[in-house]
Every structure is written in structure tokens, then in C-alpha cells.
Symmetry: C2
Subunit: 420 residues, 2 copies
């Protein structure tokens, strides 16, 4: 490995002054008909005069990149070598790309900067992709089990002889068009900017001092979409589409904690997505980095303790209340922005939506996508301790094909004690 | 669910001016002998005059919290209700807590603010825990398999009849003591502050305008530790300790992608940690949110494509080179800060370290922890396509009990093509 150390910069210019407006920065016309007309998002740091966005690339990993520079591991003049990095499948622009309201949390052109902005790249603009597409083969124990039990078949294409599943996967960095974000929330852009600045402890003064910069790359987690079958079928409403929009839950998704249904619901969604692809349809799983309802894992664990210790035990009746007491809100996931990922693929109709969340359903429908069937997690996949979450959510308006408990019945759904 | 909307603030004060120094803020004496002497970290937003840190709580989720406020979902006067949120196990302060150099990336007192700062909390200081401890039962398919194959036994305590594994788990928010971070990197604090500000696109001007504020809560991912067996045995060097320090890889950890060894190595580590706990020792897994070598998933996918498309195919010989070309660095994980989590538990000796990384090993040893045995992933758990990563890492100095390839032999280790 390379042990060369690189020179670091020594000059600081505060971003809170308006003399930071440069004529060399390219305009961004959100929702324009072509990539050229729209203009590239330039959020790299190498030439400050070319920047036309607030924030930086790689979401929260920008902090680690800064450490690399502090450590002298990163050459100041580094340009990403984009040769050979492009998508292995053709990504076709969709009508939604030209509608400034359909996508406000990702950059529709983010996967094609290599082809679309060749001239600017040659001129020396440091433009980085914010979307990357690749292909993979998934080895998932629950899928091996489904094959063994005859629920899924090996077909030598989608499911290989070794039980692995072929997918196209797409990673999305957050790119926020602030006027669109404000519109989606129903507040004024200036108000949004002030609050984003104030309530993060003063992140990016440009939010308030540079109203001319309309795009923010916030330091938050990315989203990954997994496509089962032909990616180009996603935009065809006549092709059966099975979809799960999944919010990260590390404790269950990776470690299999039984207090919630996250991993079982996810792997069931993958099984159904695979099946639909094998039957000539297409499967779609999106994974959003919104740990603990976007409140983070520290808050989540504090809430677990408060739930399990309260009088009467961990009860479905007080499930949401405990989160609100600790965190200030029940949920911070903002499903309003979730459908942007679906819009990028041109999805217009979901035949099978594997989600019980009314917030997700409402957001999808509001964005103009038709939902035919809603499917809840099969009862046999719900861990015993997760019944509290399940009944609480159903009582609060989550979708179910079954009964909804209330009053005394809801109170009686009690989970394991903390020490057990 | 609650549909009340709360009033939002309208006043903005830039943080780039020095009139933001308040006498009401409590001093922080990093490494002091008692919690009271050390002083609480106050990074909440509710009373700006009490803040004694840069940034805010919940890592990158602070951005979602800000959105909740923008949306009117969050009461301005909210105080976290900390009743019942405390750890279910006794957390004993360790000698390492009183050494300002042993922990610089987390707050040793972060799990005990409920007890340690009762007086301040009563006075109205809004102090939030940055560490949370809870208990859980893990249901992991690979562990069920290990039980079935007789490698693990049900004991009714660590491993229950249903095959679930009992753990204590601890979530850590990043809390950076900037002088310590700079010292660990071997650079001047002022230099670190300037680079953190400049290279993140101008995040937190206080980094340069407020040298009196020594603590930063950066908007990055958290870390989670899983303890198998008695948490208080971790600090006893005479008790056998099996440990894996794992960096997040969502594509493998959750989705089982076969291009790397991440999930197999993790679940093998969990199996061994469980076994050691059953034999009277203690197991420890730490999960660091550092996706794609802390470069993020977009970069990771771009690199996958460049690796698989290069002349000669995806080869072990050029494994690190491709990341450097795209990202500017081979790796941004800064293992230098990783051992802080081990120090928090008072770990002094690791009998079985399940990691091949020389960077992790070096960092652990440098922090003063003895490592007895290093264990590489068993060959039968390495997916075929991950041989490229495996051989490249061994050739670059990663630990192995086996042979190290070089020259032509290294070039011959070639992975699947992109389309396959």
C-alpha cells in the first residue's frame, strides 16, 4: 500500500460571507429537459469557485474523507478516475426526470455524469457521480431455505445453481433541491434553510447566507436499490412489480434481534421479489439508511429500555408514546422523500407492495404511483417479542389483512422483560 | 399518533462570530477523575448558551431531527424523558476513562448522564446520553445452522432452546475530543480543525472560530458493541476473550453479496464469541458504521465496476489500486480511533482476535491491548468471487495462517466478470 504523504492546505475562508459567489459556477436548472440544460451538480472541494452546491459528496463519509486529507493520505489534486465506472445496464431517462417536483432528494442525472458532462470534465470541472449502478449475486440463508422448502426454484438465471440471486444494485447519495424539499414539507424555503442550519448546531452557514445555492448534499446515509430481473421493465406498468421499501434496522437486519420484524420482512420481500422476476415480472427492494426511525441507535436503545421497564411491561398500547417521550418525535423518517427512488426508475404501478406502513403507502400514492395489492408480513414470520410492535402499528393505522386490537386487548399485548 | 404541530423558531444567529461565547456553558476537562470534574457534554440545541460542544446529537440523524422541527412535529421545549432508559447492567468506570488519551472519539461518561449529572439536569441543562445499553436476543440463520451441525450447543442461558443468543448491546454516538483526535493523527489541532471545516464543504465554522470548544459531535454513523456473556468480565485479562471488530458492509452483511467475506466473517465471529461465552469466557463484536472503507456505497459500486472491467479482469494484483484511482485513498476507516470502543469496556487482553487486518491489529496493540491469537476466516467460508479481495489483502500485509501470493500468482486470482 502507498505510504506517500500529501501536502495539506493552510488557508481558511469562512463560508458565511457573500464574497464566495463566483462567476465560474454553473447554473442548475432543476427539472430541465436535458442533462446539459440542467447543469451538473458540482459539490467537490478541489476548486471552490466551481461549486454550485452546499455540502459535499459521500454523505456523512465526507467527514472521513476530511480526516484522510488531515492525515496526508489524499492528494490535493486528486480527480476521480471515472473510466470503467459506468453502469453495466442502460439507464434510460424517465419522464419523472424532467419534472422538478417528482425528485427533490436525489439527482436524476447522478448516474450519468461520466457520459453527460464529458465536455465539462475535460474543461477541468470536478464532477462526481452521486448514483452508482453495479451487478451482484446475493447469498442469503433465508433464500437457501426457501429453495430447500420448494418455495423458490433454481432457474440458472435469476437463481443460480448455488442458490445465489442475481441483482442489479444502485446506490444513491442524497442530493437535496431545497425549494423542492420545502415544497414537499409545505413550508417556505427560507424557513427550511434556517431550521436546517439552527437545529443541526450550525451546519453549513451557506444555508442562510447563500440563498442562490439551491442544492444541498447533506451528511446523511445513502439509499440502495436492488432490482431483480430486467431493470427496464420497472417503468412498464403492465409488468408485474413486487416491491419492498425497507428502512434500515441494523439490530435486526444484520444481528437478528427479535424485538421487531425487520429482517424477516426484508428477506420475505426478497423472496417474493425473486419469485416475481422468475415469473417474468420484476422485483424491487429499496434499503434506506434511516436507523431507528431516523433517530439513530442510541435513541432506539434508550426507548427499548423505557418500553420494557414501564409499569405494565412493554405494551402495544404505549409503543409510540415511549419513543416520543425520549426522542421528541415518534418517527423522523420523512417518507415524503422515499418515493424519489421509485420515480428515478420510472415506476408507475406497484402490483405487490410488501409494507404495512401507512406513511409509506400514503407517500407512494401521493407521488403518483398506483398500488394494487398491499401485503403484510405472514404471521409465522413474526418473532414472539415483536408482537408488541406489530399490534401497536396496526392499531395506529398500519395496513393489515387481519384484526385490529384496541383498548384492553391492545394493553394485553406485552413483550419480554428487560432481564429475560 | 399525534398530529399536533409545534411552533418553529424564526431567529438565526451565525456561529462564525465570537460573541457566541457564553458564561453559562460548563467546562469540559477531558480525562478528569470523576464525572462531575469532567463535566457533561452539552450538545443539545434547546439552550444555545449552555452548549459546550460543536455539532449535535444522533450523528448524521441530526439532519432528520431538523426536518422534524421544520415540519412542526417536534416541540421546541422538548426534553428527553430519561426515566427508565438507563443500562440494565452495571457499567463500571475503567482506568481508561481517566486517561485523556485512551478515548478521544467517544465520551466515557456518555452512558451514565442519567445518574452522574442529576443536579445539572434538575437545573435545566439539557444533557443527552451518547451511549445506550440494552439487552437482546439474536436470531441468526448461520447460528441455527451451527447448532444443527453440532458446532454450538443450546445451554438455556447464552443460547436458548429456540436457538437465539442472549447479548448485551451498546450503541455509541461519536463524540470527538479534538486535541486528542489531532494527537492520535500526529497533526496540530488547528490544522485538523481547518481541514475538517474546509474539506467537508464548510461544515461548522465553529471549528475555526471557536478554538475554546474542544469537543465535536460529527454527523457520522455510530458504533454498536455486542457482548456475549458477562459484560464485567471484559476488563479481566485472565478471562478468555473472543473478539471481532467489524466494519459495516451493507451489501454483504444484509444482502449476502459474494464479492467479499464480510457477512461470513461476521457470523463466524458471532459463533466463536458465543462459544467462548458458553465456556465461561466472554465474546465481543463491535460493528462500526464505515460502509465501503468509510468511502460510502456510491464510491464502492464505482470501484466494483472499474475492477471488473479492467484489462485482465478483476485481479488481486490491482485490488487496492482501483479504489485509490476512484476515491483518492485506498481506505478511509481510520482504525486509529477504533480501539476507543474496546477501551471503554476496559479490555486489556484479547485472546482470540477474529480479524486479518493489519491496520486493525496495529491500532489495537498501539492502544495498549495485548493480542494473543489472530484468526483468519476459515477457507470454506470464503465465497469464490471474494478470493480476489482475500489474496490482495494477504499480499498487502493482512494476517494469514496460510500462503501469501505475489507476482504472477497474484495476477492469476481473477474474479467474475461484471455481466456474469
Amino acid at each position: 500500500m502507498n505510504n506517500d504523504k500529501f501536502e495539506r492546505t493552510s488557508h481558511v475562508v469562512l463560508t458565511s460571507h457573500s464574497n464566495q459567489i463566483f462567476k465560474e459556477s454553473l447554473p442548475i436548472n432543476w427539472g430541465a429537459k436535458t442533462a446539459k440544460e440542467r447543469g451538473p451538480v458540482v459539490a467537490t472541494i478541489s476548486e471552490k469557485e466551481n461549486r454550485n452546491a452546499i455540502g459535499s459528496h459521500s454523505g456523512s463519509y465526507t467527514v472521513y474523507r476530511a480526516l484522510s486529507i488531515a492525515n496526508g493520505d489524499f492528494p490535493k489534486d486528486h480527480r476521480p478516475e471515472l473510466f470503467n465506472t459506468h453502469s453495466p445496464v442502460t439507464i434510460k431517462p424517465q419522464d419523472s426526470w424532467f419534472d422538478p417536483d417528482k425528485m427533490v432528494a436525489i439527482d436524476p442525472w447522478g448516474a450519468c455524469v461520466q457520459e453527460m458532462y464529458t465536455d465539462y470534465l475535460k474543461e477541468g470541472y470536478n464532477i462526481k457521480p452521486t448514483i452508482a449502478v453495479t451487478q451482484a449475486r446475493l447469498h442469503i440463508p433465508e433464500i437457501f431455505e426457501a429453495i430447500k422448502n420448494g418455495r423458490l426454484k433454481v432457474d440458472g438465471d435469476i437463481v443460480a445453481d448455488d442458490g445465489s440471486v442475481k441483482v442489479t444494485k444502485v446506490a444513491f447519495e442524497p442530493v437535496w433541491y431545497l425549494p423542492g424539499i420545502a415544497k414537499r414539507l409545505g413550508i417556505k424555503e427560507g424557513e427550511l434553510r434556517k431550521i436546517l442550519f439552527n437545529e443541526t448546531g450550525g451546519m453549513f452557514p451557506e444555508l442562510v447566507t447563500r440563498p442562490d445555492l439551491k442544492v444541498l448534499l447533506p451528511p446523511i446515509g445513502s439509499t440502495t436499490a436492488y432490482v431483480f430481473g430486467d431493470i427496464n421493465k420497472l417503468s412498464d406498468p403492465s409488468v408485474e412489480l413486487t416491491c419492498r421499501v425497507h428502512d434500515e434496522c441494523n439490530g435486526s437486519d444484520v444481528f437478528g434481534s427479535d424485538i421487531c420484524t425487520c429482517r424477516p420482512y426484508l428477506t420475505y420481500g426478497i423472496e417474493q421479489a425473486t419469485k416475481t422476476a422468475q415469473e417474468g415480472g420484476v422485483g424491487f427492494i429499496a434499503y434506506y439508511r434511516k436507523e431507528g426511525r431516523a433517530l439513530g441507535e442510541v435513541t432506539k436503545f434508550l426507548v427499548y429500555n423505557a418500553r420494557k421497564r414501564q409499569e405494565g411491561g412493554d405494551s402495544a398500547e404505549t409503543y409510540f408514546k415511549r419513543t416520543e417521550c425520549v426522542a421528541g418525535v415518534e418517527d423522523a423518517r420523512f417518507q415524503e422523500f422515499m418515493p424519489d427512488i421509485l420515480q428515478w426508475f420510472g415506476i408507475k404501478k406497484i402490483h405487490n407492495l410488501h409494507s404495512m406502513s401507512n406513511m409509506k403507502y400514503d407517500a407512494i400514492v401521493k407521488s403518483g404511483i398506483e398500488v394494487v395489492n398491499r401485503l403484510s408480513i405472514p404471521d409465522e414470520l413474526i418473532p414472539a417479542d415483536a408482537q408488541v410492535e406489530m399490534e401497536a402499528k396496526k392499531a395506529a393505522g398500519y395496513f393489515t389483512q387481519g384484526d385490529i386490537k384496541d383498548g384492553a386487548a391492545l394493553k394485553e399485548v406485552v413483550g419480554r422483560k428487560l432481564e429475560e
